[in-house]
Symmetry: D4
Subunit: 232 residues, 8 copies
């Protein structure tokens, strides 16, 4: 292993860690655990912990928790004990910067793990969030209550599977930036999130922005770009 | 040309007219003009006019109006003069059966021609309808006004292009049967109506029924089955 | 946990229960079990049982039966013992309102679990149904017998996988409302139900209404809207 | 232009004519007009006329008729005067071999031009056909009449757009080989014939064979392989 | 359980057996095992064995062999011991009618189970077949040897995954009917057989007929229709 | 025509104008010209001009310019004289609020009309923009020059057709919010913008937000939500 | 207009010309005419002619020929007079470097315009090519003759529409690099080239490389990279 | 088992081994293990080892290693012990022919197994390769370092999942042939590699060649065709 002379890159046997990313775009490189073997995962996490600032591990199968539990003082979203499909880990989070700046609205309770991925990333960067689960439009009252509770947010992240209509209704109702995250929740014609994604991209609401399916991580990064991470 | 002995079928050079259809399913066979040559179109219309009861011609290019204008006392939806992509013609409509029984809500003003196709079919069978154009969810207030104005309808037909969220919101708000008609209105990721159709089929609202893209005709037939055409 | 002041909403840790839904659209919110963790599932079922009227749990993995077996006097469709992919549970069904009002025709014997999901929902709301399995058009005689046995139904629900032609033939033969449910039965070009769904949506039969793939639940809700649940 | 020594190939400036094809597979190479410039079209037709036996020109825009009208004694399907989207031309057809050996059933009257393409190819090879237009399943009686009239056919060609159910019903009813031809007739979710094609390929009827969309030519070639062209 | 008066239908708890199918289309109804529970499977097999003539069970998971092993004197394709994804069973096959009448060519050795499904069905109806595995066009010599060995066949069944080019080459080389069966063999852009299927449907070879993905059963039924099962 | 009592809605013969939208989400309702007949277009523009503040007309076919030229003092993007596929019109723009706040980067020169649609909307709301055309990654130097020239922007809008890689490279290089707009520029596998859209949604760059195909209008609305229109 | 200091870039009103591209990748930037207005097209061609070496204009509508005919001594592929859908222009071609180095095989005569686009690009860079039209596998003899005539080529470019099998057969037969170009020739299930493209990408032939649909230009660039343009 | 007289083909019970392939196209037939039963796999490996020259086994599930471990002196990519999804085996590799001739760049560390498949094939044929993992464009510096380290390669193989932009950037930067391999790495809208594949095929970089998803094997074969295997 050697330090790359061009700066900010740590190079190992299985890959490189882009240590300069937070300086460049305001958000550190996250270690994406899903596709990595054990050795590659450990190497990357070590690289990430070598520097300063927050550390993020995404899409970790809870069964691999033992491999890295002792390497840092991790926060887990959701908690490891719950046996979720994957968890997001945060170490060395930045201090909270103030009141709840990002609203996270999820249409169903099954969108929870993606919503928590977004919350984890925001937490790592010191941005507080307000999470409301299960406020989809099949009961419009829930949607209105959720909007009312989050009206002072700077940015909205809206997660929805099935037909994804919650994102359209939120973007039609508020003036803040709205980031839609289609989720793979649903069956049959929900097509693993494709239907919600197309629905959000074709929305008649003006200015709804869309992320890839289940990409709670990306939505949080987008929100961080908007609330301004460089100045924190 | 000869009468088929099995009853109810009139057979010509270009096809057969199913004169028994109204007795069987409550709705007469409509003459679908779009794919027919002039001779075939005239033959079918003559067959349709031979019998009794209402006559329907759908998807007629207004430029072909001269071919059939004099054959009956037609009602046109929309009026021929407007140069629409296609018109629906009605002859010998049944008498009105009473107050407005079917509500037709269209998300945008561009869904008008499909909405009028539905209204034409209902008119032919003597069922009155209440049409509200341009009440999509990008301004939820419009939607609520439209629902309020139509609350005594027996059935809802909801037309929407783009992401088709109006159908989901209507079905979440009323107890009547709701028939969604995805339309080809929109561009890009609207995919000619595929996005709205998938969105309606995957809707989180309980019991929303869906027709094919731009199928205002089918929606009206479905509504007629529901309000009961046999007893009229 | 607290009662939301806007009425009809019960809010918990994992989501909200829309207790006002039956008053609004005639059908109670069903607890969709498939995507929920144990705690979330129990919370929602408790909310559902708190009120009055019928309770529905859909898409329950039979292996989770022990978690909720004792909480109510459940009817299971199909019976729990059969090890089906999922079951639908009903508690506190409304009393039967009369003769068989909804016909459920399934093209193959493999469409059974979706057909039973529809029957469960109808049973919960006190609507009797007449189920005929395996009456697809590859033996037209079966279809004709099934139509004959159900000719006094008020609504038809037709389930079919593969090419879905049964729905087209039924809608061409009866005057009642017909609701098609494409199923994921089949392999290869059946494409998990997409082929049957497209086939039903493009049907040449006038007024066939379509639900999403495997959505027996939605079909029953649609049928309930048609037979009129508010007056029961 | 020169004769290729390997036999059966005539080579020109724009392509080669496979003069040995009829000896090899029983059916001559047809000149596919749609994608060719005038010079290339004339060259290929001249090559085709150089040899003996039947000559076929497919997908000819009627506006190009003048270019080749005088080169042979052509039969046109449909007649040139009708201004159809394309016509199929036959010259030097083989003599008729006997009674109607191939039944051609078309679901709608708009499938006519593809049906005539099939009939033209059969005519060229001396095989008689029985064409029934507009016998789709939305009026099952028509279908039954058509099946009755053609019960002595050796092979069935069935053309259908929309949901293509006619092919499934025919294959469920007869013992002869059935060749389905999905057509591009329909709009919206008919998807230019893709829906009918998938429906036929996924058919629950045993042994239904399928051609590409609008491929009446191929269907006739398949039928000719079945009735045996080598021995004629 | 009761005998249906309309003839040829045996009706049970889980479905109907179409005992009249062989008289109608020349091929008996096969018991499709894949989607059936144990009780439904046994019921259908008992119905099938009640009558006379050949019995077919398709898509049987070898792990369920014990359930039905003793009910008849079964031939298994492939043999049960090999642990294949599924097997096809034949009981009471008709006597062989003569020399090898159907050629079955499979592009790769992995297409074997679908090829054997076709062979099983042919065997049941007394039609002999000539199976050549692994003769795809990546080594054209193999293809030519296979064609040479099977030149006296009456019909060709060609199975291929990946790009499916073998079907095109066979249909370009022989005069007999050619039935293409796209298989799900391959990965990535093979798209579970969709690529081979589209390739066969769009083939430049004249008259290639196509079945659904992995549908060896249907291909054999089609071949039986061609070689004429009624007269056996 | 009448004023709706619920406030902010102007209702006409062909639709409603949501006059309250700017107060609600910071951006006025734009008149989408593409799907409207002449009478409907004029009615909506009159409604829009009745109030105060900026007025937007999008997707206007330049051939319809005469219909509305005299109704206001319009700015056209691009200028009417250029015969573009469509133009965006602005009337009564808000005063400029300061230096260039939004960077608009377009990969090719053919993305110009969509880029100008975005610029028009920003201009209407008083937000200055910096447009760089033709800076795609096939010449990375151009991309770097463009990034250097726009480094003080608050938000990036990136338009690209073909494979859409420019959006990924920009989002990897800057800390500001980046909004990707896939365009329909390209042919064949560009699939009318679907490829660029999928590419942006699946981007490995953290936090890239995506709009629908060719939706320059939506991108500008999103940028306005981010730079904060309520306070202007 | 000004010269960009970073070298190799010429910047105009409508875009930039990457004058350094030939030094970087061996092939000059081609002016893609299809999406450009007249002013933009002229500006780019002037930039291209300012430097030295070969100049390429692709996808030019022949109707725009007058706009640029006099600006250079152009070679047109195909000749302007033939009224093709588009032409490729070459000015200042490099001198021929020797015998025919690239074989261009096209399955049908309708693939000609894409084949000539490839030949034009090769000509511009001084690389001779051997073009054989209409040698698809529906007559395998033609294919074998074409392979025989081109056996000394260094690289093969193979164009094919429909099912694209020619590319598979060529790659199975030769040791040289083979570049497949799926074309949009065909109808129905040819899906505008998608079927041929998928077929080539899934080919069982080892090492077949694929370009986008109709991308004769790209194929020639790929061939040039292989034969080595830097050393010429 | 017998030797086929037409030369180069070894024929067994389960298939044929094309022993003449290396003489024909420069690369031996590889034994594709994924779809084969144990007996078929062993038969093919024995055939392959019977001759001379390098032997390749691809897509071997590591759990089947015991079946063939003793049959040759295998090199495994990656090593068997790592429990990868599949391994590529090489026996009797040709001697190395010189310095690193093929650069293999992989965008992420999860593309490793496909990259090693390519390296295995190159190793078998005596061609050295330079592998750089994890050099995707989300940190452009890594890409530039990788390009710098491999600037003397004769050919580039570029593997990337997600949006696949690395292939576009490499092809825009170097003059050598560039072969893109889209990988199935990613989730949601990455669509199992379809997005990266479309992105590479639509690339604005001139002359990028593309393989099927995850086809590292094919990419190596293509590279071998380019660097010339016949002369080694």
């Amino acid at each position: 292993m050697n330090e790359n002379p061009t700066g900010g890159l740590r190079r190992g046997e299985f890959g490189w860690f882009d240590a300069g990313r937070r300086a460049r775009i305001g958000i550190p490189e996250a270690v994406f655990a899903a596709g990595k073997g054990d050795a590659a995962l450990v190497e990357m996490i070590e690289f990430a912990l070598e520097g300063e600032g927050p550390v993020l591990v995404t899409r970790l199968d809870p069964e691999r928790w033992g491999l890295i539990a002792d390497r840092a003082d991790w926060l887990a979203f959701p908690p490891i004990a719950e046996g979720e499909p994957y968890v997001t880990l945060v170490a060395r989070p930045l201090p909270r910067t103030g009141p709840k700046r990002v609203a996270i609205l999820a249409a169903g309770s099954s969108d929870r793990v993606m919503a928590l991925e977004a919350r984890a990333v925001l937490t790592a960067l010191g941005v507080d969030s307000h999470l409301v689960l299960d406020c989809g439009v099949s009961a419009l009252k829930r949607t209105l209550v959720a909007l009312d509770e989050t009206s002072d947010a700077e940015v909205y992240i809206v997660l929805a599977g099935f037909e994804g209509a919650l994102a359209t209704v939120v973007a039609a109702s508020v003036a803040q930036p709205v980031i839609g995250v289609p989720t793979s929740v649903g069956y049959g014609v929900a097509r693993g999130g494709e239907t919600a994604m197309a629905s959000m991209l074709a929305s008649c609401s003006q200015g709804l922005m869309v992320m890839g399916i289940d990409n709670g991580f990306g939505a949080a990064c987008a929100a961080l770009r908007i609330v301004g991470t460089r100045s924190t």
